[in-house]
Amino acid sequence: MNQPYESTILKFIAKNFLVPLMVVFAIYVLIHGESSPGGGFQAGAIFASAIILVRLIGANTQTQGSKGLPMPLLIIAASTGLGIYVVTGILAQLFGANYLDYAAIPLQWFNEFAGENRTNRAMGMWIIELGVFLGVASVLVIIFDLLSKDPEND
């Protein structure tokens, strides 16, 4: 990062084609994690890669270097992801089952609303993978932001 290499076509393709593709692929991997390869970890990694790519595009220009998601929001997102996981487990306990036993949580109304035929356990898996997705994506972006931050500029 000594000398910024100004190539507008690379930035154009990365910003307008690659980043939306990565976001869509991350959401696809998250939602279809039960029926195809994928899940919360992979979706979180791909989504974090998309955000890091946006950071890398904007790193050389002065206008976009300080924009993007701020650090407190990322910490809140990571805590929210962990909180979804823990609260789902406690919710199962409140309905009279063991910790993280999703079969007791009444989620059938969502299936009837969506016209699907899933079990309660599949729905619980989907919820906790959402939590894992939030946690992994925000923690990876936090690590990258802190590693690439110059301490004498702030």
Binding site: S35, G38, V136
Partner: protein, 98 residues
Amino acid sequence: MKWLTFTFLAFILMLLLWATSDLPSRANPQSPANVHLSPEFTKLTETEIHVPNIVSAILADFRGYDTLGETFVIFTAGLAVLLVLSSHGRKKKDPPKK
């Protein structure tokens, strides 16, 4: 000092290669890892959870407590990086050597 490292590494390599001769041959359907516990997981995935991806089912349901701990580990790693690299309180001490 260099020869000591290489001698140690050669010893470790010989030990590990000798240990692999006791392992069951690869892709053996009757090896102990293949007959214990994972057929049950496959059957329970079909009957109880009813999702196609067996790995996802084990990760999020049968070993859900394990995944919870792992999410804690990742969160703790983020907090550790935040604590180590935050520049608050460092400037009051002696400045870094140039």
